[in-house]
């Protein structure tokens, strides 16, 4: 789960990372007051989770409280890349001598935390990795040992700083790692970390991504776990399904993530357009299947529903009852292709056939049928 900039900055300052003074507001009037209180030039920043808000008009420099008011008015309630702006941050504009980069991420290849540092921050790190990889230092940390001072010294040295600032950079590195560890982060990033003319370091932007599997440890965030999801994604998540919106017309419902992906890929390879990815996981009972099918029946862009079940711990009769239940309760009729294989396959098939839903035994044939019904791209 992504945190908003203000949430990440609150955490940073609790952990001793210097952050320019800020306030978070949800009305233009509050924005004006905040700008007056902070004094001088301020930056008005839309609090959204999508990347690239700056280019989309979500970051503005305001010379006066009146300007802050009018920028806040523009941003609040507007949409940035499809995400509604509910809050803006008013923050002190910092004099920046140079922009640096500092982050801690999990490197999946080595299964360990990695410190990334660059003297050339402010740009997208992926972009920097492509164009000037020699400007990024990567330090692997043993997850059992955690960060040591020498790691921090190494990172700080790479940032090309004066003697006076070096210590601050070491502290920032260690504190960022403490944030990363304390909040079980997938990513804790400061970009840019601003070097100010007086030799200070300020986290001008802040990004934290929490591990969804660890959310239960942080009740202050876990209640808001659907924050960056669409309506259907959120509904599915509440039922413990995995759901992802795609742009086609053939709904895909399977048990198991790999099979669901392979099913949507097969539909695509055979010429169709998947509308979504819906993985009901293993062992789903009829009532859960019913809710999953209902979700797709109600989904406006889904014209055909392709259900592909390979039953191990999932029983085909439970799946069949769920499908029939959903059709009866919603009264919605859509074209449905079902492939059932595995545990209690015969019982499942019988239940469906009694309800005039025909079952196809092989996955390719079923995918082909779904494409035929949904139309080729």
């Amino acid at each position: 789960m992504k945190l908003y900039e203000y949430e990440a900055k609150n955490i940073f300052s609790q952990f001793g990372i210097s952050v320019p003074r800020f306030k978070v507001v949800s009305t233009p009037e509050e924005a004006r007051l905040a700008a007056e209180e902070i004094g001088g030039r301020v930056v008005v920043k839309a609090q959204v989770l999508v990347a690239g808000r700056g280019k989309a008009g979500g970051v503005k420099l305001a010379d006066t409280p009146e300007e802050a008011y009018s920028y806040a008015k523009q941003m609040l309630g507007s949409e940035i890349k499809g995400e509604r702006v509910g809050k803006v941050m008013i923050t002190k504009a910092v004099d920046i001598e140079r922009e640096l980069y500092l982050s801690i991420i999990i490197d999946r290849s080595i299964g360990a935390p990695v410190i990334l540092a660059s003297p050339e921050g402010g740009v997208d790190i992926e972009e920097l990795a492509r164009t000037r990889p020699e400007k990024i230092l990567k330090i692997v940390v043993d997850p059992l040992i955690g960060i040591r001072d020498y790691h921090a010294r190494q990172a700080a040295k790479f940032l090309e700083l004066s003697e006076q600032t070096l210590r601050k950079a070491q502290e920032a590195t260690i504190n960022l790692y403490r944030v990363f560890e304390y909040y079980s982060c997938e990513l804790a990033e400061i970009n840019p970390l601003a070097l100010t003319p007086d030799g200070g370091l300020e986290a001008v932007d802040a990004k934290i991504i929490l591990d969804d599997n660890a959310l239960y440890k942080y009740p202050e965030f876990s209640s808001d776990f659907t924050r960056d999801l669409s309506y259907y994604e959120a509904e599915a998540k509440k039922m413990n399904f995995s759901y992802v919106e795609l742009d086609g017309n053939i709904g895909i419902l399977c048990n198991g993530a790999g099979l669901t992906m392979a099913t949507m890929d097969s539909v695509y390879v055979l010429g169709g357009r998947p509308a979504n990815f819906l993985d009901i996981g293993g062992g789903a009972r009829a009532d859960l299947v019913e809710r999953a099918v209902t979700l797709l029946l109600q989904h406006p862009k889904t014209e055909v529903i392709f259900i592909n079940i390979l039953g191990g711990i999932t029983r085909c009769d439970e799946v069949a009852n769920g499908i029939v239940g959903a059709l009866k309760k919603t009264g919605v009729s859509k074209k449905i292709v079902v492939r059932l294989k595995g545990t209690n396959e015969e019982e499942g098939r019988k239940i469906l056939e009694e309800n005039k839903i025909y079952v196809i035994e092989e996955m390719d044939e079923a995918a082909g049928k779904a494409v035929e019904l949904g139309g080729r791209r």
């Binding site: 999990i106 999946r108 290849s109 299964g111 360990a112 935390p113 790190i125 992926e126 043993d142 997850p143 059992l144 560890e181 079980s184 997938e186 591990d211 969804d212 599997n213 660890a214 239960y216 440890k217 995995s242 992802v244 795609l246 399977c254 048990n255 198991g256 993530a257 790999g258 099979l259 669901t260 992906m261 392979a262 949507m264 890929d265 097969s266 539909v267 695509y268 390879v269 998947p274 990815f277 993985d279 996981g281 293993g282 390979l310 039953g311 191990g312 711990i313 294989k341 595995g342 545990t343 092989e362 996955m363 390719d364």
Partner: protein
């Protein structure tokens, strides 16, 4: 021959009294897996499906010194603890079925296992099966058949789908390793390829990958750099997955420009790995490479 599990495998089930644990204990026993003990803290003295239950792994190992493998069904909040316990009890192989373990915890126990020379399969995996010998996992045993092709996979049901297609085509399996769908697995594709390389009961390997991370790319590099002798065929799931979205598995996400299916398929093909467009094509690709 097989890898990881065989008729010598002696299993302790951690979390045996839970719904999943007891269900799969029954299924594994009926497959012929030798389960000697179960562990659930506070339930020592009970039995599940005739298997004696102990309060901790140490005690189980003392009573059954032949134990060499653990399978863990413990809920995610307590699973790390169960893994450390199994490592410290001196078991050789630990299969972690549990889904939803925080990745910070996994990084640590995977590292601890490595230091102690213990193999971890998973987390968030279906387990390992050597058809006809032993099943230490949750897969439906009947879709597999004994043979000479190894499977290593990041997924569960997709593995069953492909194993089923192979079995139907008369191609049996030596061992199928489900390494799991998490971002930091205890055993990687390369680890599994190394195991199959040394196994004289395996003639070819099926690699079932998916989006997220660069494990497929690293496997491809390994194959070419090491001059891997056995043919490898592959399937990579998720070519229609949008970037930045987690596709069911914690590890199945294209992030920071890394992990899309197209580039994985490309890299695998460049090193001579045959990559199937559809899961059903795996058997014919295998026939082709095995004939050579």
């Amino acid at each position: 021959m097989t890898v990881l599990v065989n008729s010598e495998t002696r299993v302790v089930v951690q979390g045996i009294t839970g719904r999943e644990g007891s269900f799969h204990t029954r299924a594994m026993l009926s497959y012929g897996t030798k389960i000697l003990a179960g562990v659930t803290p506070g339930k020592g003295g009970a039995t599940v499906e005739g298997v004696p239950v102990y309060d901790n792994v140490m005690e189980a190992v003392r009573k059954h010194p032949e134990l060499n493998t653990s399978i863990i069904f413990v809920p995610s909040r307590f699973a790390s603890d169960a893994v450390y316990e199994a490592i410290d009890a001196g078991l050789d192989l630990i299969v972690v079925i549990t889904e939803g373990i925080p990745v910070h915890e996994t990084m640590k126990f995977v590292r601890y296992a490595k230091i102690n020379g213990v193999t971890i399969i998973g987390p968030n995996c279906p387990g390992v099966i050597s058809p006809g010998e032993s099943k230490v996992g949750i897969m439906p045993g009947h879709v597999f058949s004994k043979g000479r092709v190894g499977i290593v996979s990041r997924s569960g049901t997709l593995t069953y789908e492909i194993a089923y297609a192979m079995t139907k085509a008369g191609i049996g399996q030596s061992t199928c390793i489900g390494i799991g769908g998490d971002p930091v697995p205890g055993t990687s594709f390369i680890d599994a390829l190394e195991m199959f390389r040394e196994d004289d009961g395996t003639d070819a390997v099926v690699l079932i990958g998916e989006i997220g991370g660069d494990m497929e790319e690293r496997a491809a590099r390994y194959i070419v750099e090491q001059g891997y002798e056995k043919p490898v065929v592959a399937y990579v799931a998720g070519r229609t997955a949008p970037p930045g979205k987690r596709m069911g598995h914690a590890g199945a996400i294209i992030s920071m420009g890394v992990g899309d299916a197209a580039s994985k398929i490309k890299v695998l093909r460049e090193v001579g790995v045959e990559v199937a467009e559809l899961p059903s094509q795996i058997p014919s690709l295998l026939m082709k490479v095995l004939k050579k």
